[in-house]
């Protein structure tokens, strides 16, 4: 049975496809090493157009207008350039009002695509460009520790990891973010104070990794210029012990934070990457898993939400639960040795190696 998977791995090969949904200009070459914040591909996402009515402006028929146009489709023009003119005693001139490119000339009209600031897609992780995707982007590959999270504010950044808390449930206080280095990516357990984010922005930090925040802070966090990644979600959840342990032991290492939100349509999810050389036998981080005996899972719903366990067995058919529901289930063994039955829909595979 397939199940979602969250990777918390000290060593993994990580490969990420970074493409735009429409054609653009790829800015990297195969084999190039990139940083998380390097631009992979740019595209004119929403260019505006200008329509010049050449026939009316020159006072000629639509059929004759083409004879007076001095430009070609595909040609770039600068603001003020002559596009068409009628010479003679009563000469008239049509100029481009903007910098841009002529994209269509038809029936006495000229359409100019206005030059705009292109959208830039960043690499998201540091690594090597393994493959180019024609006009769309590239595949980036790297090795290192991978921690996948639950939510992100959409930003990408990198810096030096500064583990500020001693336990996964520690609350991050405003005074803790001040006075440190400006290239830091801070890591702590929980946060419920908007002042933390205000001071972090003033400090120009490069990122913030937390177990959880209070959900009312989302609007504040979405406006921040640096990435904020939550490993576990919203409310008062501590950071999972596996993620906390891995990042605590990476204090002062370089870290990349891709806080892109979870999107089931594209498969993207927020993640932290700590670039490290890996042993030759280390394989790629899996993207989906199959539930099997002996696998480590996390319970995603109450009761026992967040509890880690090992699959003891997967009973066939449907099992009856105390609330009267008959569901596909897994029997799991908790760290305490207790065995419990959990709906199959309420577990996710936690791929943890230490």
């Amino acid at each position: 049975m397939l199940a979602p998977i969250t990777n918390i791995l000290p060593q993994a090969v990580v490969e990420r496809l970074r493409i735009l949904p429409r054609a653009g200009h790829v800015r990297v070459r195969q084999g190039q090493n990139v940083r998380a914040t390097d631009v992979i591909v740019t595209a004119e996402v929403n260019p505006s157009h200008i329509m010049l009515d050449v026939a009316s402006a020159l006072g000629v028929s639509r059929a004759k207008a083409a004879d007076h146009i001095e430009r070609y489709e595909g040609e770039s023009v600068a603001g003020g350039d002559v596009v068409a003119q009628k010479k003679g005693l009563f000469s008239r001139v049509v100029r481009s009002p903007v910098d841009g490119k002529i994209v269509l000339m038809t029936d006495g009209y000229v359409f100019i695509e206005e030059k705009s600031t292109p959208f830039e897609l960043l690499a998201g992780i540091p690594g090597e460009v393994k493959e180019l995707v024609h006009e769309m982007g590239a595949v980036i590959e790297t090795t290192g520790a991978l921690i996948q999270g639950a939510w992100g504010n959409g930003r990408i950044g990198s810096g030096i990891l500064n583990a500020l808390s001693k336990s996964p449930g520690d609350v991050l206080l405003p005074e803790q973010v001040e006075g440190g280095p400006r290239d830091a990516v801070l890591m702590s357990g929980r946060c419920s104070d908007a002042e933390v984010f205000r001071r972090a922005a003033a400090q120009q930090i490069k990122g913030l990794i937390l177990g959880s925040i209070q959900s009312e802070l989302i609007p504040v966090v979405r406006k921040l210029p640096f990435p904020v990644l939550l490993t576990d979600g919203f409310g008062d959840l501590p950071m999972s012990t596996a993620a906390f342990r891995l990042m605590s032991t990476s204090h002062k290492r370089e870290v990349a934070v891709n806080a892109e939100p979870f999107d089931p349509d594209t498969g993207s999810r927020p993640e932290v990457l700590i670039p490290l050389p890996t042993a030759p036998d280390v394989g790629p981080a899996p993207v989906i898993g199959r539930l099997e005996k002996g696998q480590r899972i996390r319970v995603t719903r109450s009761p026992r939400k967040g509890t880690l366990g090992i699959i003891d067995s997967i009973p066939p058919g449907r099992m009856m639960f105390p609330n009267g529901l008959r569901l596909q289930a897994v029997r799991i063994k908790l760290e305490s040795g207790e065995i419990m039955l959990v709906p199959l829909a309420n577990v996710e595979i936690v791929n943890v190696r230490s």
Binding site: M51, F234, R301
Partner: protein
């Protein structure tokens, strides 16, 4: 045994949902078709697999494990036709809701006429309206073009011109479509479906065919007065299949397995609601399907169906849409325990992260049903504007009288106790008069609707043999009176021979036990000119009712429901109502 069953065709129906893929097996048992079993597995249309086939295969594997019957041979091919030796199945049907809604641009001459019809047509499939262009649109041509380029629609529905009516103005409306398509890369150009004046179809083809794939559908507005969506719906479904098959090879395969009959899940659901409405032509039927990514409301009367699909408005990862149209306070107001707005927001965000998870505690179930109430309340209020005028209303602004009300979707049909589910439905829909709540516990109505194409007899018999489970017969008197005053006298003759007389007071919510399938006779005498739908205010009568999991429920809480402003009183009231339907 009926003659038509002698050569019975078994049916395997696949439903690829946003979260779960289900495989249903229907076969003839003892002379009539029955639902035999269902297998399920997580859907795999989304990344990282991006192909529905794996989920379909896993759901069939689960079905094979449950039934002990083989449906797929060692070469991974569907075994068909069926035989006693090899197993297999005779016919296949398929539905899907595992699709991002189609981005649709509607174009029509008049806003209130053809453009409205184009929008109504768009709402019959999983869609999101990105823009509309009409004759009165004041935007410059180039602005319209830029807007189209920015919105990137998947499909443009063009309506306009009654038969033998306007033609030049219809063609003029196409200018921005043609220009935008010209400027787009070929692989991103939207398809165009023309459903207007048949007389200009050829001109539309000529104007756009160089830049777009154009299909022609029957006119949505053959005359100013009449709207006909039905004939164009088939063409729209064909375009829907074409677009989604190109995005998911698994759906493409499923479409070819079913010989091009892959249906939107909501279409299958609507088809069954229409079918049920033909059983008793005097009564209207309401269908509510609350899914993970969409909510569907279908109302049918005498075979005439009105259906609204609210895409990206569901109880899974689409919950964000709900937070934009209601408040956390409104959601918390349905809970029978203290909960802050922050608690509700945390729950919503968590549910969006784990959309397939199932509530296992009373608190989680209550939270989930509070969300369900708001989703359904908002959807039904909008859908109500479009219901057929022929459905009777007991009072202006109150839900018209439907019997039965059919409910599908795991949250409202499965994931809580029957009493919790029924209370959520009564709160959300606020039915009026006498109705029966039927739940589709296996989420099989859409599949039955799809299977009707390959085996029309099967859905009839599956429903007759218990395909739907009755929650209760509900009596909801409508009128005005002080809380606590008598509004209805009920005399119930129960199958045990017992006779009960009950004086119903305004504000009451109570049950009369009557097991599923058992019948009772009710004499209803409304007081204070209350209306129970038996001929007008104050009119009573005798009716035979059938029991359900909660028997007979009398909901005299008033229409519309009034809510105390005080959170503590509201919580106590919710607890009281829940206790009244404790089962």
């Amino acid at each position: 045994m009926p003659a038509s069953i002698v050569d019975a065709d078994s049916v395997l129906a696949i439903d690829v949902g946003t979260v779960t893929t289900r495989a249903f097996f229907f076969d003839a048992v003892e002379g009539s078709y029955r639902f035999v079993a269902m297998g399920s597995a997580p859907s795999t249309y989304a990344p990282p697999i991006n192909n529905s086939t794996e989920g379909v295969r896993n759901a069939i594997d689960d079905l094979q494990a449950i039934t002990g019957r083989s449906f797929i041979n060692e070469n991974e091919v569907l075994i068909t036709p069926s035989s006693e030796i090899t197993g297999g199945v005779d016919a296949l049907a398929a539905t899907t809701s595992a699709v991002a809604p189609l981005k649709i641009l509607t174009v029509g001459l008049l806003e209130d006429v053809s453009l409205e019809s184009a929008k109504n047509l768009a709402s019959t499939i999983y869609s999101r309206l990105v823009d509309s262009i009409s004759m009165n649109d004041r935007r410059k041509l180039v602005t319209k073009v830029d807007d189209i380029l920015r919105q990137q629609p998947d499909l443009v529905i063009v309506a306009g011109g009654t038969e033998n009516g306007a033609s030049k103005s219809v063609i003029k409306l196409l200018d921005p479509i043609g220009l935008a398509n010209f400027l787009m890369p070929e692989n991103q150009r939207p398809k165009v479906m023309f459903a207007g004046n048949k007389g200009v179809s050829a001109e539309v083809q000529e104007a756009l065919s160089s830049f777009a794939s154009v299909s022609i559908a029957p006119n949505l507005r053959p005359s100013l007065e009449s709207e006909q969506l039905g004939p164009a719906e088939g063409e729209l479904r064909r375009v829907f299949r074409q677009i989604y098959s190109s995005r998911d090879p698994g759906l493409q395969e499923l479409d070819s397995w079913t010989s091009g009959r892959l249906l939107p899940n909501a279409t299958g659901f609507g088809r069954m609601i229409r079918f049920i409405s033909k059983n008793d032509r005097k009564k209207a039927v309401l269908g509510v399907d609350l899914g993970s990514s969409s909510t569907v409301i279908a109302a049918a009367h005498d075979g005439h169906l009105v259906q609204r699909i609210y895409s990206r408005f569901g109880i899974g990862n689409a919950l964000e849409s709900l937070t934009k149209v209601t408040s956390m306070k409104a959601i918390a107001g349905w809970l029978p325990f203290d909960s802050s707005e922050a608690d509700v927001r945390d729950y919503v965000l968590y549910k969006m992260t784990y959309p397939h998870s199932i509530p296992m505690t009373d608190e989680d179930a209550a939270m989930e049903l509070a969300l369900a109430r708001e989703l359904v309340r908002i959807a039904i209020r909008d859908a109500q504007k479009h219901f057929p005028a022929s459905i009777p209303e007991l009072h202006a602004g109150v839900l018209p009288v439907f019997e039965p009300i059919v409910v599908s979707g795991s949250t409202l049909a499965n994931n809580a106790r029957a009493g919790q589910n029924l209370l959520a439905l009564l709160d959300a829909l606020e039915p009026a008069g006498v109705t029966v709540f039927l739940v589709d516990t296996n989420n099989m109505l859409p599949s039955l609707g799809a299977a009707a194409e390959v085996n029309p007899l099967m859905p009839v018999q599956v429903l007759e043999t218990g395909g739907l489970r009755s929650l209760a017969t509900v009596i909801s008197p409508v009128g005005e009176a002080r809380t606590g005053s008598s509004i209805l006298r009920v005399r119930a003759k129960l199958p045990s021979g017992e006779e009960r007389k009950i004086d119903i007071k305004q504000g009451a919510l109570m049950t009369i036990p009557l097991d599923p399938g058992l019948k009772a006779e009710l004499q209803l005498q409304p007081l204070q000119r209350y209306n129970v739908g038996l001929g007008g205010p104050g009119r009573g009568g005798t009716l035979k009712v059938v029991g359900g999991l909660l028997g007979i429920v009398i909901d005299a809480r008033g229409r519309p429901l009034r809510h105390p402003g005080n959170a503590s009183r509201r919580k106590e009231r919710n607890q009281r109502w829940l206790a009244a339907l404790k089962k």
